[in-house]
């Protein structure tokens, strides 16, 4: 919408008046053929209703609108206008093209944001400063924040409840599938895929381990050591369906041919460096999952993977 005519000093040429709002052109733009000029916001609003020139009704669409000639822009920029805040005491009269910059800093703007200097530091519109009370404002602020906090807390509780519900349902589904897979081959395939995905997800969540001294490997760990490692695996979120198998595979009697005796281990020790190992936090042990090690030969790997316990040498 254009600038009110009575804000200008002297006569304003009719050419510079918007036929829609009857103010002096703001952000002027013109129709392509008839060259009638309008404020950009005015003509945009009109064209959104019907694609015609509001003066002569020739067809005009938004993309056809053109910049007005330089002469019109120059005439406009030279007009002298009073400040928007004249009614609040600003006596400045400015060239139209300097108005925007002045409004940015006009100290008579009743809405100019100023920081409170009595202590609260809040930014307040100038016209509200005289009725401003730091304590009241801050209390209101605390109140709204408290409210927000309560809302978040409530939402958090709801989400937690929902999550528990979903976990429970998920467990039910898993049990259901386990029961079904026995009798239904396609269900078995789906369940197998889900379990594979679960192992993969778990494996991706674990950190890589580096074995510095393969010679420290314990090929016949005792019961106590095994129980300790098993508890740690459970705490790490090991999928239950591979836990027992994994633990079985921590003893050389269940290791693959390439590892199962001192002799074969001697022969294959160069291949150890190729294993991708995952950390078992706080323990001198590593997980060698088969899903991480498809590149290893069959005689070096078993399903679902190996647990290797060491006397020392794990980073």
């Amino acid at each position: 919408m254009g600038f009110e005519l009575n804000r200008f000093q002297g006569e304003v040429d009719e050419e510079l008046v918007c036929p829609i709002c009857s103010g002096v052109l703001e952000d002027p733009i013109q129709a392509p053929i008839c060259e009638h000029a309008f404020c950009k916001s005015c003509i945009t609003e009109w064209i959104s209703r019907q694609p015609t020139c509001p003066v002569d009704r020739q067809i005009v669409t938004s993309p056809q609108l053109r910049q007005v000639p330089r002469i019109i822009r120059n005439l406009l920029s030279r007009l002298c206008i009073t400040c928007d805040n004249a009614q609040y005491g600003c006596t400045r009269v400015l060239k139209l093209d300097a108005l925007a910059a002045h409004l940015e800093e006009c100290e008579h703007n009743p809405k100019r944001p100023l920081p409170c200097e009595q202590g609260c530091g809040l930014i307040i519109p100038k016209d509200e400063l005289k009725d401003h009370n730091c304590i009241k404002e801050l209390r209101a602020l605390i109140h709204t924040q408290q409210q927000k906090l309560n809302e978040f807390q409530q939402e958090f509780t709801e989400q937690r409840f929902l999550l528990a519900e979903q976990r429970r349902e998920m467990q039910l589904l898993k049990d259901f599938m386990r029961a079904m897979r026995i009798s239904n081959p396609s269900m078995r395939a789906i369940a197998d895929a889900m379990e594979r995905d679960e192992v993969l997800r778990w494996s991706n969540s674990l950190q890589r381990a580096r074995v510095t001294r393969w010679g420290g490997m314990i090929s016949t760990p005792d019961e106590i050591l095994q129980r300790m490692i098993k508890r740690t695996l459970t705490e790490m979120g090991c999928p239950p369906h591979i836990l027992d198998d994994l633990m079985e595979n921590c003893h050389e009697r269940r290791w693959p041919p390439g590892l199962c005796s001192l002799e074969t281990r001697q022969n294959n020790r160069r291949q150890y460096e190729n294993y991708i190992c995952k950390r078992v936090p706080g323990k001198q042990a590593v997980l060698v999952l088969s899903c991480d090690n498809p590149h290893m030969g069959e005689d070096m790997m078993v399903e679902p993977g190996l647990v290797m316990i060491f006397a020392h040498g794990i980073e």
């Binding site: 009857s22 103010g23 005015c42 009109w46």
Partner: protein, 199 residues
């Protein structure tokens, strides 16, 4: 009211006041409230028409969305015209509907309405009864329109034949305007008007 509408009406009001049509008493505009939403318009019946010498008052309501939508205008003064309802004063004129353009003003509207009084468009009627009479019996139409102008708009042409027939119906207990409508609708044939009123 939206700023743009108020700014426009303020300026248009001044424009009309300064216009030569006002100087010639052809049109008139009056503000009815401070918010520029309600105005009273007046147009003089054009010369060489049945409306000559009459003064027609219009109700003008300016919508919030003016000038992107046309003002809502209707005749307060009762008038006999194919494009104006003899009952409600509603107007059938394209620029007050889909042919409105944002650069048009109240002055253009008033002048267009005056032009409509000079040149009726019976093929795009607002009042079917009037339009039929206009097409089938132009002389009868002119006589009726002149009579209505005399009675409601202060026109100078008194038609004593019409007045007599209305008096006869009033004597039968019919209300005056109702009597005039019935007679106007039946080409001033007393019998048919009576028949219709008492059927």
């Amino acid at each position: 009211m939206a700023n743009i509408a108020a700014q426009r009406i303020k300026r248009e009001f001044k424009e009309v006041i300064k216009s030569e049509e006002v100087a010639k008493c052809a049109i008139k505009l009056e503000l009815l409230n401070d918010s520029y939403t309600e105005l009273k318009g007046e147009i003089a019946g054009p010369p060489d028409t049945p409306y000559e010498g009459g003064n027609f008052v219009l109700e003008i309501r300016v919508p919030e969305t003016y000038p992107f939508n046309p003002p809502k205008v209707r005749f307060i003064t009762k008038i006999w015209h194919p494009n104006i309802s003899s009952v409600t004063g509603a107007i059938c004129l394209d620029i007050l509907k889909d042919q409105w353009a944002a650069a048009m003003t109240l002055r253009t509207v008033l002048l267009s309405l005056q032009a409509l009084l000079s040149a009726a468009e019976p093929d795009d009627p607002q009042d079917a009864v009037v339009a039929r009479q206009y097409k089938e019996n132009l002389e009868m139409f002119k006589l009726t329109a002149k009579h209505w102008t005399n009675v409601y708009a202060g026109g100078p042409f008194v038609n004593s034949d019409c007045d007599d027939k209305i008096k006869r119906l009033i004597d039968m207990g019919i209300e005056e305007h109702q009597a005039r409508v019935a007679l106007s609708s039946y080409n001033w044939v007393l019998e048919r008007a009576t028949e219709q009123l008492f059927s």
